[in-house]
Symmetry: C2
Amino acid sequence: MSKSDRPTEITTPTHERVFRALRSEIMHGEITPGQAITIRGIAETYGVSMTPAREAVRRLTAEGALSLSKTGRVSAPQLSTERIEELASIRALLEPELAARAQPRAHLALIERLQNINTTIEQMIVKKDAVGYIRSNLEFHRTLYLRAQAPAMLAMVETVWLQLGPTMSALYARLQRPNAAGHHRTAIAALRAGDEPGLKLAIRADVTQGLRMLGS
Amino acid sequence: MSKSDRPTEITTPTHERVFRALRSEIMHGEITPGQAITIRGIAETYGVSMTPAREAVRRLTAEGALSLSKTGRVSAPQLSTERIEELASIRALLEPELAARAQPRAHLALIERLQNINTTIEQMIVKKDAVGYIRSNLEFHRTLYLRAQAPAMLAMVETVWLQLGPTMSALYARLQRPNAAGHHRTAIAALRAGDEPGLKLAIRADVTQGLRMLGS
DNA sequence: ATGCGGATTTTGTGATCACATTTCCGGCGA
DNA sequence: TCGCCGGAAATGTGATCACAAAATCCGCAT
């Protein structure tokens, strides 16, 4: 079979599958800060051998999603207050830029989709579903930023989200009423009006809001 | 031996050693864009087995320092013009902030060290030593930013440097006279004068300068 | 009860192997 | 001369094993 050769179905490697699954769990706050992770545990959970589990852990630690103790033990990171503020600063620097770049390309269908996602966010808030809230909140931001056509910048921001994942879930758990939906509405209005400064401000406010109740 | 137990000398793992060595090579432009990398080749070069070599490669790819083809082949990335501009934008966003944060903590000894490094940079320029130029240029920035006490932000910037490494060396090779030393002098002067806006501007100009001659 | 010491289990690490696929290269035919 | 084909070499992938260090657990003495 040489001529009608189909492009040889590519099977995503095992370590890639494990990596994506773990990454999603961490980013969406399904892992508690400080929670111990073992390579053999991952391997058993996903029914694979140690090798791909180890590679997934390596990639995650390279992204700062997992932290290693001096002895090589793996765990979800426990972020210090300073670290959290720093990561929030990075978000505050990058995300308004991404939003501004997305603005000229944001057509009506996108804005409607953002509104739908925002409705979901509000539902998650009343349901007090922390994981669902984080997931849909990130989906809101990602949907907007994807229009920026800036994959490297988006990847960088996602890395920050990843590092904040476990902490965010623990943080929002004690959070009575996140105002994200409000900031999102402001952002959508600015998006509609073509108001770039307003959009950047709304995104910045949304990003740094979770930081404020940190002093409690 | 229970009481006088020394803290059990920790030996840095093999995969860590290989990772650091490779990372340094890539960041400093000792790898050509598109250059093929093989796991077995790395293993042989460093006299280790495939396992730690693979883990080092995984971490590097997670940082964007290496790129994988669909078939899993590893190579140094060939960045598109858009990607380069994007990475420069990230630098332009983060590095002025790092400089501004470092400013209040920058004492005289630091400024002198920066001047020394800048002298080295000028020597590298006249010697047309691309790798040496990149290395000392990054050392200049890192020395300044270390004072910012913002490890997460610095790590993020270093990731960008890493991604730009191979391209930078190929780029500066055809570059007649980098003006980095000049921008650095301006930055040092602003640092001395406590002129934060001037410092941020100088850093931004320095960071985006390499971008301009990209249209050639 | 409580702290301590040693045995036991757990865990990360590195090496090796087998396998499937891809890539490379040399030769053959149009 | 150019293109194609087939085998050989190279490469990534996943599994398994042995080993050392660390963490845990259990019983004992105070």
